[in-house]
Symmetry: C2
Subunit: 111 residues, 2 copies
């Protein structure tokens, strides 16, 4: 992962609402959630502000969206999330083997 992508992703997460959205999506798994469900999960309205924050997460590469009927579903971009975590912990302690993130979450391994 490039430094600029990581900065963009971290900047997107450095906001209370977006961080909660991200965590909600991580919990939701590969299927994701509609905007309405996200708003519900956060206890906020599905308004322009939420839409803006969702767009920011997508712009930073941390989420993807897809249209399904009249709903739009957002879901975590797991490969980018894993890249980001790896980038943060890379070569920890000079590579002395004290543990490094490989894949924090791989939805394809879910039961």
């Amino acid at each position: 992962m490039e430094s600029k992508l990581a900065v963009a992703a971290l900047g997107a997460l450095a906001h209370e609402t977006r961080l909660e959205v991200f965590r909600l999506l991580v919990r939701a798994g590969a299927g994701g959630l509609s905007v309405g469900r996200i708003a519900e999960g956060l206890g906020v309205e599905a308004n322009g502000r939420l839409s803006f924050h969702l767009k920011e997460l997508v712009g930073a590469g941390l989420a993807v969206s897809r249209q399904e009927g009249r709903f739009i579903y957002y879901s975590t971009n797991y490969p980018v999330m894993n890249d980001l975590l790896r980038y943060l912990t890379e070569d920890c302690c000079g590579g002395l083997g004290c543990g490094e993130v490989v894949d924090a979450c791989s939805p394809e391994k879910c039961v």
Copy 2:
């Protein structure tokens, strides 16, 4: 970890210089690096700007500093780093066991 602490930590990392400082410190391990060495590792001057960024990392809980002789050493705050990574991946996919960060780096386990 509380949401506000996570936002502060992510905000501190969402900056090119600070992110590189953090990664440098992660690589350096528990002993950390003096400000001069950090500047060297980044290819910048040890000036007010770098000092400000280091203070930001400490303020966000991601690093700690200690004075040793006429040098000041900064090092990663590993427990906070691990908390942050756990916070981001918590209950991934609803807890279906697709892998979650436990401890990305535990310097006490280093060889």
